[in-house]
Symmetry: C2
Subunit: 354 residues, 2 copies
């Protein structure tokens, strides 16, 4: 198969981990006789520096034409004092919105070798394997009005959803649940928000179409508690944009493997943007220390969701597990009795396993 991939390395350790992602894609292409072509564009802080905007036009255009997009990371102290519209993360928010990537998939899985680094007791976190499906292009993030009023005496933001936006993310979540353990937790604040009450109704409507999936509703405050006390309770969680932002970051630290977590932001036709959950880590940038595994697992998500290459995706996931089982790791992971290697060496190990 032929696939065209846009790489957006971004800032900090972004370029290093994007390089690892590309090398894994090339290795997979060679083995399976696919043709993957690549094209690199600017985003975030480096785009501000080079193009004067966090999201240049040619980046948007290239992404529109791609089969999939890989993003490294954006942001860093260098751009922290710029005005709002010139901040690196505007590039990220912008590309999600421009491409209509409405579903953010954030899997969190406990790796046995890394549980010692979890803040949770081993018996609490063992067996955790959950997926947060976060709505990504609506809610408080893009609702209008979002403004000061009366000379700054008041301020409003707007949490806005259309029925269509809620329906499509809820459908995505049911479909994800069907491919996993058939358990869906819909998280809202229906005792306070009208948007949550509509969300709940839509989940109730849609569940008729997925009789094999068990559905429950949970308030966001209760979910924030249960993620900590009993993370293995969850299979798939679906929620709106801001709740998803908070809960998926909370969930990301549970297993002690933040440097391992991939993410996908997708739309219905398969186009997706894949990025590691970790940030741009400017303090270790350019030192070949960055852990490439989250990016490599993001590549696995790309193979699966955008290219429908199930087998290749599993091959990549398995290679990562084998490398961990062989106790190779970057400095961030600190596996007991392990073999510390550089970021590029760790990527080599994965490629050797493929």
């Amino acid at each position: 198969m032929k696939k065209h991939i846009v790489l957006l390395p971004g800032d900090g350790i972004g370029p290093e981990v994007a390089r690892a992602a590309k090398r894994v894609l090339e290795a997979i292409a060679e083995q399976h006789q696919h043709t993957f072509t690549f094209e690199t564009h600017n985003i975030g802080g480096s785009a501000i520096d080079q193009d004067g905007t966090p999201l240049p036009e040619d980046t948007i255009e290239a992404c529109h034409k791609a089969d999939a997009v890989f993003l490294g990371a954006v942001g860093g102290p260098k751009w922290d004092d710029l005005p709002g519209h010139m901040r690196p993360e505007k590039g990220l928010l912008g590309i999600r919105k421009q491409l209509g990537l409405f579903a953010n998939l954030r899997p969190v899985k406990a790796f046995q070798q890394l549980l010692h680094a979890s803040p949770l007791k081993t018996e609490v976190v063992t067996g955790s394997d959950l997926l947060i499906v976060r709505e990504l292009t609506g809610g408080l993030y893009f609702g209008e009005p979002s403004e000061r009023r009366n000379n700054g005496a008041e301020v409003v933001d707007t949490l806005a959803y259309s029925r269509h936006e809620i329906e499509r993310i809820v459908e995505q979540a049911f479909q994800s649940a069907r491919l996993r353990r058939n358990h869906l937790t819909s998280v809202d604040k229906a005792n306070v928000l009208e948007s949550s009450r509509m969300w709940r109704e839509i989940v109730e409507e849609k569940k008729q179409e997925y009789p094999e999936v068990t559905v429950e509703h949970m308030l966001v405050d209760a979910a924030a508690m249960k993620l900590v006390t009993n993370p293995s309770y969850f299979d798939v969680i679906v929620t709106e944009n801001m709740f998803g932002d908070i809960l998926s970051d909370e969930a990301s630290v549970l297993t002690g493997s933040l440097g391992m977590l991939p993410s996908a932001s997708i739309r219905k036709d398969g186009l997706g943007l894949y990025e590691p959950v970790h940030g741009s880590a400017p303090d270790i940038a350019g030192q070949n220390k960055a852990n490439p595994l989250a990016s490599i697992l993001s590549v696995a998500m790309m193979l699966k969701h955008s290219f429908k290459m199930e087998e290749e995706a599993e091959q990549v996931e398995k290679a990562v597990q084998d490398v961990l089982a062989a106790r190779y790791h970057t400095a961030d992971l600190n596996i007991n009795g392990g073999i510390p290697v550089s970021g590029s060496e760790l990527a080599n190990k994965v490629i050797e396993q493929l």
Copy 2:
């Protein structure tokens, strides 16, 4: 001193824990020659049953005239299927708003005897002692419009704040920080929300008046992570209503002592509503099993914040610690080598220690 206290026992275990709270107040009054008078009113589900509304007029009136209010708990499956305006929690939301109780204080403290029940590793949670100051009468909870549009094709909720509302909660937080370890973390989502940008500006303005307090800004997603990975990092956290709802519930499970956590909802003139953080626990209601310590610690907060009785407040806190040190506990706590007792017996033990 003379003080008049309104008791709102509410639902489930509410009446039992309210009884314990009242007994501790009576014991304190006797010892210190205060005159505490009491008056009991309905709220929540029991008010729906008896008065046809979760917040009867006479309850509101009585609270307006009180020096302090104690609330047990509201809610239960019995009222879960009623329409929105007839839900027990409307009583809670209503009384907060009616009384203008804009500051919700939620302390979370690790008790050494209970750390085994924490989901966190002991070395992660040890020493945690934080206070969340949550704005309680603004934001998404009360913003207008909050409605369906275009025949249900769209829905909006509104996150609204006035400058005045933000200023007063930020001031409260600085004052709390000054009485503790002088460290304030202001939590927002300034990279997305205009209200958060205004919030951040106001914190920056106010900090001039509190030079002894160190202030930092943290994004809500980062705060949700750090609460789990490093809870002892925090001293005082201040945040808006919805973020505060989520983070304070997340924080409440960190120390393994949810049954121990008090809360206060206060306004500037000292009037406050005090309630345990735990819910109405209908499954154990009426069995004398409910842990009264969260309610008794809420009484300590009442003594301190509404009555300015610092000494009496410390006496109550110390009595609770002594009772735990003597290893008395209700079934929920399960202290190693401890002495299980009923709820009323545990309250007796505290009163004996006073």
